[in-house]
Structures are given as structure tokens and as C-alpha cells.
Amino acid sequence: MDALHSTRRRVTAAFALAASAGLVLSACSGGPGDGASADDDPIVIGVSLPLTGDFSEPGKGVERGYEAWAQIVNEQGGLLGRQVELKILDDQSNADRVVSDYESLIAQDGVDLVFGPFSTRLVVPSARVAQEYGMLFVEPAGAAAEVFEQGFENLFYAAPAVANDHYNYLADYLLSLPEGERPKTAAVASMDDPFAQGTAYGLRDKLEEGGVEILVDEVYPPNTTDFSVIAAKIAESKADVVIGGSQYQDGVNLIIALQQLDYQPKVAAFSTAPTNPEFASAIGNQTEGILSPTGWSETASYPSNVEFVEQYTEIFGNPPAEDEANAYTTGQVVAAAVEAVGCAEQGECQQQLIDWLHENTVETVVGPLSWDEAGRPSGAHLIQQWVDGEIKIVLPDDAKEADFLIPKPAW
Amino acid sequence: MSAQAPVAVASSLETVELTKSFGGVTAVDHASVRFVDGKVNGLIGPNGSGKTTFFNCVTGMIKPDAGSVAYRGNDITRHASDRVARAGIGRSFQLCRVFPRMTVMENLLVAVRHPSLRTLLRSADDEHERERARHWLRRVGIDHLEQAEARNLSYGQQKLLELAGVLMGDPDTIMLDEPAGGVNPALIGRIATLVRELNDEGKTFIIVEHNMEMVMSLCDHVVVFDRGRPIAEGAPSDIQKDPRVLEAYLGV
């Protein structure tokens, strides 16, 4: 990302604002009118991400994914023969910031394309801005049901499945177990976040339909740090299954609190957190048997995935995680549309890109993706489990790298 | 309760068994006092005898623990101080208090006698009110300072301003807490004259004062406080001879 350039434009913007607000009647530069792109100009892609605040951990993962994508694309000659340039702003995990970020990216900086932000909460407001400026909006994180119920025509979720379907394989598997091994009770704790709740409640509802009794069902706000009482309730219930609708730190905190109470479930499933590279050390390496859904696998054999993992590892020195992969997928989806339609700028072009994506399937690092008219992808997530100190795919059977471990060893 | 209280005196302000204590200290101790309507009443007593606390209890600045206060036959016990003021009792403070960052004129426009929607929205520039304010400023002798900020006035001028501010509320009874405290002799004379004149115009005064000369020359009726209750009352000349008063002053 061209930080210097970006900074200068922003400063101009601020002064323009100051001047206009100070009501000095002078002409200002920097409107979207500049967007008329010469063929050798870079394609500028605007993104707003939560680099600070409640979602900063996954936000930074997404940032790395986008940066990796840009670097890899540029090394291969760019898009339509033009280099790509990311302009990333920090929305501090605030809805009001994310809107003004996209507004300034589109209207002030005149970016050619936008990528989505992180977290469902921020996707809806920002998708609306994009919609009202007629921009294509491919996003890596807004998986919850409500995202697709807002009537957006420009939105595409760049992952295999919506949140409620993330645990489908796990639910099917648990319910298919013979009577004696099948779990009878479950406890749920979820962050008050559409994505986290979507994943956890997808599993909860399927288990409940299958006859599993839900003993505890707790929700906590995103800024919760003290999990001792929620953990006490879960431990008290002695439920067979514990389901955590978590992002990252909350999942870590909840697991530590459960460990402190010496609660030993047969199945422990947590969204997102267990796939984080720092997860194991954060909970004292007692990870054995913890489950997590993932839309992406490091070892999947899709050609672009092999390339992605290799090049990402080269750039950052460690392999990518799911957030990075989702971001990368977003880039791939947009790139496919741009290459197919042959344009990347504001205006008419955006609608052509949107139409193209509605009608076509895109090959990505998570496999082929296609969408319904609301932008829902039509796949399912893989189920991973920590086995022997590593996180491996255990479900479905045709993709598994290790056998499903049940009951889970003590932590 | 003082046995010598003349029976025929018309009472304007009256307390019955008024009591207030702070922690273990009883500052006002079952004080029953009557002040004479239309006269200049003095309230004297040694330091710490509870005069100011008594003042504050009467005017609603603090809530008494027990006892009652009546003004012209109406019970005003525990009424908030603004209600007491609107009932017609104006007061000054021992350490004079004005509104430091408002002009002299604005200071005078604060007083409220009849709060109503009309008063609320009336412009503070109302010429009638301003004329009244100028009248009182002339009376106390600081009309040339109309536009000065109160905090820039000398202490004596602030005392006069405070008095003018109280008068703007058109009170029937005016309680002054040490009007002569901290001001030079010339000004004491000016204040005394003013009190006299206002009394002639029908205002009742209740004055707490240490300056005996002023009390004796100015007051028609004097109440002596000791240890939170009245020990004697009567005409100044009688009070001066009363052995209990001498004992109270010398004994402390």
C-alpha cells in the first residue's frame, strides 16, 4: 500500500474540509471526477478494516490477506495490465467510522474498486454505502443471515457457506453416532455478534432438533473480558457439548475460565478462535480435541490455494490462517470479474461486474464459488480439530486429515 | 422561652423549639424566638452561640431537626430557601455573597418574587425592572457601577450590592448577617442610615451583629443568644444591664 501517497491525499481532504467548512469559497481538488483512469494508472482498491478495537485481531488477519493478494497479483503483472494499489483505512470497529471510511474512499478518493470490511456488524452499513454509489461489494466476513436479507444486489460473500451452515458436518456427525456415544446435553455461549451467533446457533438448533438438550444458553457483549460466571454456569451444567460462538480473545478467555473450573466436556466447538496461530500458546497449549469450522484449509489442493499458501508463507514467514484466506478469496473473486468484464472503475463498469458475478462461478482458494441473487454462497464449511498439537480437518470424511476424536481428551 | 417577652408585640417571624445539631454538637437548641414586626430586631450573642445556624434554619438554607418556623401566621418550617424568599424574607450572608461573574445590573435582576411563565420569558432587558434596579442602586449608592462585574467591586461595594439585590426581591422582612462585618466605619454609617430609612418605609429587619455600638443605636428590639437558645430579649438599654447577658459574654 502506498502510504505516502495515501497520506497526502488524506491531508488534502482534511484541508479541503477545513476550507469548505470554514466557508472559504475556493475550488477544491480531489473529487471522484479525477477517477478517469489512464491505462497505466494503478487500480486503486479501497478497504476499511478494524485495525483497532474489538475486532482488531481478525481485522489484521484480513489486512494481511488483502496485502498478500495485492502483492501476488502485482508480481504476476497486475489486473488488466495495471498494478493494483490498496488504500486501507482503520474503522476502529465502529459502524460510524466504517461508513465514513467507505464514503471518503468512494466519493473523496475516487477508488476504482472496494473490498469488504471485517465482521457482519460492519458489513451491512458499508454495503449500503457501496450500493448507493453503485459499487460492487465483495466481502470476506459478513456471513450472518441478516446480511443477505437487506436487499443488497451488489453484495457477494467470498466464502463457501453462510454462518448458520458452518457446523453442518459436525451436527450431522454427532447426531449419527450410536445411542450410547451420542451427546445428550449441550451448553452454548456466544458473543452478541451476528456472525458468532450465526455459527453457534446453527449448531445449537440442529442439535436441539436432533434431541440434544440445551442446558445453558448465554450471550455476552463483544467487550466482555470476565468469563468466570458464564464458565461457572457451563461447568455446573456438566453438558456433554460446549459450543462457543467466539471471535478470538473471548474464545480464549472462555476456555481458560472453563479450564479453571476443571470442566471437561466431550465435545468443545469454538468458532474462529482455534484457527488463530496464537491460539495454542494463549490457552497454555491444552488444545487437544478442540473443534472449529473453517471455510478454508491450508492443505486443500485447489491450484490457487497451493500457490497462495506458498507465496503467503514466503511473504510473511508463516502460513496464512482463515481470515487471510477469506480476504485472499475476496481478491480472487473481484479479480475474476474484472478480468472477465475488462474494466475496473466507478460508474457503468461496476454494474457489469455485479451482473457477471451473479451468472458465473469463480475458482478460488476455497474451491469454486457461486452465489444466489442475495449474494449467499452455496457450500459448507470443513470441520477442524486439534489433534496432537496441530489443527487438522476431521470432517467430512472425504477431506479428512485425521480421525475425529471423541470424547475430547481433558484440557 | 423568654419570660419577659412583651405579650402585646405583633410577631412577624416566630420560631418554636427550633433545634439543629451537627454530629454531637447542638448548634441551635430548642430556640423559641419572636421578632417584632415593623421594627429593627437585633440578634446578638457570643461567637459560636448558634446565631448563623439559627438564621440558616429560618431561611431554609439548612433543615432543622425539630421545631417550627412561622412567618406572619404561615408555617414555613423546612421550606426550601427559595420559597422562604418568595414568602417575603430576604437575607444577606455573613461572608457577603454576590454573583462574581455577572454585572452589577445582572446581579440585581436575579431576584424572583413571582415565578410564572411570563416572568420566565420576560426579557432581562425589561426597562421597568432596570429602572427598579437603578433605583435601588442609587439608594445604596453604587449606581455608577451598573456595568461593572461584581467580582471587581471592593468588599464594601459588594455588601451594598448584596443588599440592593435582596431589596430587588421586594421583601417585607430583611435578615442581615453581620452587615457591618469587614467594612470601614464610613460604610457602616451608610448601612445604618439605610436600614433606618427602609425601616421607616415599613421593612422589618433582623440583624445579627457583633458591632455593639451599631446594635444599640440601630435596634428597637434585641434578642440575646447563648449556646443555641435565647437567654434574654428586650430593648437595647435593658439588655445591656441584664446580668445573664454579661455572664454569657464574659463567661465564654
Partner: protein
């Protein structure tokens, strides 16, 4: 600084002055600001504001203009309480959030048109602010600040936790009142709506400022007990000011909801937003009609600038903190008095004539003051200070 302004101020009083007179600069003095000039300034200002949507180079700048007008409305609303009575509420974001959420929830559940919901929500906020005001205004000073902060924190908790009703942390989506408008037009319409709301708030503040009610409120700011002793029904008056303040703030919040569309409890009920209101009003000058507006311009632009310039850091917090600290320590009366003093400096014809006399007067004043017997008490008073800060603070804790 002080000397200069004192000099000029007293100079303006003319030769009739015979005794010590010093007028301190920040008293609004119409005589020094002829009505015509003030009027012209207001007209020019209004014209510039109204023409802004046409000169704004792009919709983003226009939307930033809307944000700043919104801040100006909120800060002016805060100033109904903070400016007149001196009661500093750090939790005024509570009413911003209630106005916004009230509007959104009424639209959502009662299916009423946006602007009807806006008015209803404001009335509801008035109904809420009365009991809250009664409770909060039982205490003064520090306790009032604590209550105001607690109120916004409690609302944050409620709006986060009561998911079934408010949408919880997922937030609430408020439908656009004009669904057919393109985004730039949407901004333009709301720019004018906010401008109209601001104008109404300013007119209301101005009416109160010059009314007897306003004088009474200001006397509460100066010395509440003294005001009471003069018959000012302080409890009632404070409550009226508090409710008015809540009303204006809530109207700002409701309009924000209709404009912005996405409500989030963390932003709507944030102490930070409340503190920006205080900072803006204080910076501009709480005793002045246009103080909060001026503060909103300065702080709003500065905040936008810091977020743009140092976007991915928390530097804007440091900047806001430093600014607040500087204002509190060095110019608690705001920039307007400071600027006035500066302007007065460039009015030679008035200062030069009476320079000497003014200095003499000042000297006289000092001399007269020190010659008085109870020097201790009197000097305290002249400095505008209570004789004993502790006693004063204690009084302020007393509950009626």
C-alpha cells in the same frame, strides 16, 4: 492579557466614571458589538452555511459537514444545561442515543414515518429526562458528573443487553426517510435539516439568554445557594434547563438516526461523544451563543483531520485529550473571549484615550481593597473565589 482587556473595557465607560470600575472582557457587551455588525455577521454566517452544499467538492466533504452540524446541534443542546447553570454533564450522549434509538425503534415497531417518529422520540426523551433530571439534580458538582456518566453507561448496558428489543450489539437499522434519494442528495437534504435544527436551537438559547429565566440560570451557575436565597426556584429552573437540553440533544440524535441509518449502542451511548460535546462548548465558550458552534467547527474538523492523518492509530484520542487539557487549564472561558480581547487590541482610538485613567482606576481599586479591615475575606471575594474551597464543595454536596 487581562490588563489589556480591563483597560479597554473600563475605557468604554466614558468620563462619568468616578470610582473603581473594571469590566472584564467576556461579559457580552452589546455596546462594543453594535447590533448591526452582529446581525451582519449572523447573516453572512448563515449564508455561508446554506451555500456549503454547493461548494463542497464531493459528497464525502458534504457528509463531514453534516457530522459537524450534528456536533454543533449536540453541543448547543448541551450548552442549555452546561452553559447556563454550570452543571457539566459528561453523559449527554445518553440523550443523543435515546433520541436516535427512540426514532429507530418507533419506526421499526410502530411503522410510523421517520419524521413523525423523530418528534415522538423527542417527546419520549423529555418524559425520560424529567425523572432522571430530578434524581441527578438532587446533587451538585462531582456527584452530578458521576450520575451523568453512570446514566450513559447504564443505557449502554441496557441497549446492548436488551437484544430482543433494541437489536443489541448487532445494532439497529433505521430505514431512510427518503428512499429514492441518491446518497449525495440525501446528504444535502440532511445538511439543511441539521442547519434548520441548529438555527432553532440557537434561537431558543438566545431567547433564554436574554430572558429573566436566563439570568436566574446564570445566577445558579455563579452561586446556587445565593440564587435560592433571592427566591429563584432553582430546582424547577434547573430541571427546565436540563429537559430543554435533553430535548435538543435528542432531536439531534433522532435526526442523526434518520440520516445515518445504522445505530450501534457503543457509538450512540459513548462517553467519548458526550465529552466531545463538552470539549466543543468549552472551547468555543459556554457563555456565548455561538461558542458551541465554533467549538464544533474546530473540534469537528480537527477530529476528522486526526482520524484521516493518523487513521490507524489512536492518536486522535491523545489530541482530543491534550486539547481538552489545554482548554481546561488555560482558557476555561473558551476562545471567544480570547478572540474578543485580541480584536479589542486593534481598536486604538478607544484604548489610547483612557489608558491612564483606567490604570489609575485599577490601582485605586487595589488600594481601596487592601485598606479594608477584613482583608482576608475581601481579597478572596474579589478574586471570585469562595473563601474555602472545601466548605464550598461540601455545600455543593448538600442535597435539598
Amino acid at each position: 492579557m487581562r490588563n489589556v482587556s480591563e483597560r479597554t473595557a473600563s475605557a468604554a465607560l466614558g468620563p462619568a466614571v468616578t470610582e473603581t470600575v473594571v469590566v472584564v472582557p467576556d461579559t457580552p457587551r452589546r455596546s462594543r458589538w453594535p447590533r448591526l455588525v452582529s446581525l451582519a455577521l449572523v447573516v453572512i454566517g448563515a449564508a455561508l452555511v446554506l451555500s456549503f452544499p454547493f461548494v463542497a467538492p464531493n459528497p464525502y466533504i458534504l457528509s463531514a459537514g453534516v457530522v459537524i452540524l450534528n456536533y454543533a446541534v449536540l453541543s448547543t443542546g448541551w450548552n442549555f444545561m452546561g452553559g447556563f447553570t454550570g452543571y457539566i454533564s459528561l453523559g449527554h450522549a445518553a440523550y443523543f442515543g435515546l433520541g436516535a434509538y427512540g426514532t429507530g425503534l418507533i419506526v421499526k415497531y410502530l411503522q410510523l414515518p421517520g419524521f413523525v417518529a423523530w418528534v415522538l422520540a423527542a417527546l419520549l426523551v423529555v418524559a425520560v429526562s424529567i425523572p432522571v433530571g430530578i434524581a441527578a439534580l438532587r446533587v451538585r458538582g462531582a456527584s452530578f458528573v458521576i450520575v451523568s456518566i453512570a446514566f450513559v453507561l447504564i443505557l449502554l448496558l441496557v441497549f446492548q443487553s436488551w437484544r430482543e428489543f433494541t437489536g443489541g450489539s448487532e445494532g439497529l437499522i433505521v430505514p431512510r426517510p427518503f428512499p429514492d434519494l441518491m446518497r449525495p442528495e440525501h446528504h444535502r437534504v440532511f445538511f439543511y435539516l441539521f442547519a434548520a435544527l441548529l438555527a432553532a436551537a440557537l434561537v431558543a438559547w438566545w431567547i433564554i439568554d436574554r430572558s429573566k429565566f436566563g439570568t436566574a440560570l446564570k445566577s445558579i451557575r455563579e452561586d446556587e445557594d445565593k440564587a435560592r436565597s433571592l427566591g429563584v426556584p432553582t430546582t424547577r429552573f434547573k430541571l427546565i434547563a436540563y429537559v430543554l437540553s435533553a430535548l435538543v440533544t435528542a432531536l439531534g440524535g433522532g435526526l442523526y438516526a434518520l440520516w445515518f441509518g445504522d445505530l450501534d449502542p457503543i457509538f450512540q451511548f459513548s462517553i467519548l461523544v458526550g465529552s466531545y460535546m463538552v470539549l466543543m462548548a468549552l472551547l468555543g465558550g459556554v457563555r456565548h451563543l455561538f461558542g458551541p458552534l465554533l467549538g464544533a467547527l474546530v473540534v469537528g474538523i480537527a477530529l476528522e483531520y486526526f482520524k484521516l492523518e493518523f487513521g490507524d492509530t489512536q492518536f486522535h484520542l491523545v489530541a482530543a485529550g491534550l486539547l481538552l487539557g489545554v482548554v481546561v487549564l488555560f482558557m476555561p472561558d473558551g476562545v471567544i473571549p480570547a478572540v474578543r480581547a485580541l480584536i479589542d487590541r486593534f481598536r486604538p482610538q478607544q484604548t489610547s484615550i483612557r489608558d491612564v485613567t483606567a490604570a489609575e482606576l485599577l490601582e485605586q481599586n487595589r488600594a481601596a481593597a487592601t485598606s479594608e479591615p477584613r482583608a482576608g475575606a475581601s481579597s478572596d471575594h474579589r478574586a471570585g473565589a469562595a473563601p474555602d474551597p472545601h466548605a464550598d464543595a461540601d455545600n455543593r454536596e448538600v442535597v435539598r
